[in-house]
């Protein structure tokens, strides 16, 4: 297992997110150090996915800033993108490609020269399905393939949006083991989830606490 650098905290300062005219959350701070874990909880629509997309730089924050290793991430976005893995709601699989081709493609897109594809597939329990076309996979198996993407191309920060959606009990156990191994190697992980996943010593951010104060969406404009 790759050992990640112990230095380098991912820090969010006073983050706010606006979707359309609605202020989803504001005044949110977090710090994620080596081996650390954040669990994001909150009702539907409280901004868990938005926060993860914001940390992944797919969304621009309405206020506040993100720091990696003490420097604002927009100063060197290419390096910052290289240290993070984002696992969203969608599994980004192509029905016409085989499982191994799909995994190899995403590893190549991260410029990983010799990814351990079969080892990653074994870790998520898809080892015997490597030559299946992705159209044969069930929703849970596609989710496992998405998880294998993170294992095949190591990166210190994992941003996981409902990673256990559609996973069975065996899948949940493999997910928990993968997160534990990632953290043991010095990786950092932020998880948005409704399921009771076993992630020991995780800091919890309840996004409901950061919701816009008043029910009037236009109050947020000031």
């Amino acid at each position: 297992m790759t050992q990640f650098s112990q230095t380098g905290d991912l820090v969010g300062e006073n983050l706010a997110c606006r979707r359309g005219e609605r202020l989803v959350f504001s005044g949110l701070d977090f710090r994620l150090g080596a081996g650390g874990a954040l669990v994001l909880t909150g009702a539907n629509g409280s901004g868990k996915s938005s926060l993860l997309r914001l940390v992944a730089t797919l969304l621009a924050p309405a206020a506040g800033r993100l720091l990696w290793n003490g420097a604002p991430v927009e100063r060197d976005p290419a390096t910052y993108r290289g240290v993070l893995h984002y696992l969203g709601h969608l599994d980004a699989t192509k029905p016409a490609l085989s499982v191994r081709e799909m995994l190899g493609f995403w590893a190549a897109m991260r410029d990983v020269t010799s990814p351990a594809l079969d080892q990653a597939l074994d870790t998520v329990g898809l080892g015997s399905r490597a030559d299946w076309p992705c159209r044969w996979l069930s929703a849970g198996q596609r989710r496992r393939l998405a998880l294998a993407r993170l294992i095949a191309a190591p990166a210190p920060v994992w941003l996981l949006d409902e990673p256990s959606a559609a996973l069975d009990r065996d899948g949940d156990a493999r997910l928990e083991a993968a997160i534990a191994a990632h953290r043991a190697a010095g990786g950092r992980v932020a998880v948005a989830t409704h399921q009771p996943l076993a992630i020991p010593d995780a800091a919890v951010i309840a996004l409901d606490d950061f919701a816009a104060a008043s029910g009037d969406p236009l109050a947020a404009w000031s």
Binding site: A56, T57, L58, L59, A60, A78, R81, G82, L84, Y86, G88, H89, L90, D91, A92, T93, K94, A96, L97, E101, F105, W106, A108, M109, R110, D111, T113
Partner: protein, 221 residues
């Protein structure tokens, strides 16, 4: 370089394995050209004169109908998020996808065009100019098309919107491409038109990916 080539290879693989879509575009191209003689009557003189224009217009329309899936599929299944977060700058990813699009539409259209030229009874001397023009000019169709495809991500009727956006942009390659054939038959050779077409193509290689990548960033937000 590995991510760039990897993205081209993936798009080619997808296009070849889902061969139906590519076949539809080529079939559309051939049918559109074949319809003209039925519409205007079998007059070799007339067909010979307007043949190059017919083939160019049909090629533009065939390129347009292949555009709406250029980014829409990657956007719908979440691949676009990951491409934006990959080691490849978004501009380079657009260029890679445009190259793959040209290899699966522009290049086969160019290869088919001499057959259709014979069908329309074009002057033998004009056929090489037509093919050369399509070879030089068809990358513009993929590159300008990438801008329109990126702008219409998430639209309710992307197909219609793409054609409205992109067909005016296709006017210059159409004018120079068909003009080169026309000029090659008169005293003048078609060189000037072909050079202008090449200039357009070369300018589009760096500029179109910049514009399309900016549009994609808007779509991701």
């Amino acid at each position: 370089m590995a991510p760039f080539l990897g993205l081209i290879r993936r798009d080619l693989r997808l296009a070849l394995r889902q061969g139906g879509e590519m076949g539809l575009v080529l079939g559309f191209f051939v049918l559109a050209v074949v319809l003209f003689p039925f519409g205007i009557g079998p007059e070799p003189e007339l067909l010979r004169r307007i043949g190059a224009g017919i083939i160019w217009v049909a090629a533009l329309l065939a390129a347009v109908i292949s555009l709406d899936r250029l980014f829409a599929a990657d956007h719908a299944d979440g691949s676009l998020d990951l491409i934006a977060l990959s080691a490849l700058p978004l501009e380079a990813a657009v260029l890679a996808k445009a190259i793959a699009h040209w290899l699966t539409t522009g290049l086969p259209l160019t290869v088919l065009s001499p057959l259709l030229a014979v069908f329309l009874d074009m002057e033998p001397a004009a056929v090489p100019v037509l093919v050369l023009g399509l070879l030089i000019g068809s990358p513009v169709l993929s590159l300008f098309g990438a801008i329109a495809a990126a702008l219409t991500i998430g639209a309710r009727r992307p197909g219609v919107l793409v054609s409205l956006l992109v067909l005016p942009l296709y006017l210059p390659p159409l004018i120079f491409g068909a003009g080169a054939v026309e000029a090659s038959l008169t005293a003048d050779s078609g060189h000037a038109n072909l050079l202008l077409l090449a200039a357009l193509s070369l300018a589009a290689v760096p500029l179109a990916p910049l514009a399309a990548a900016a549009a994609l960033r808007q779509a991701l937000d």
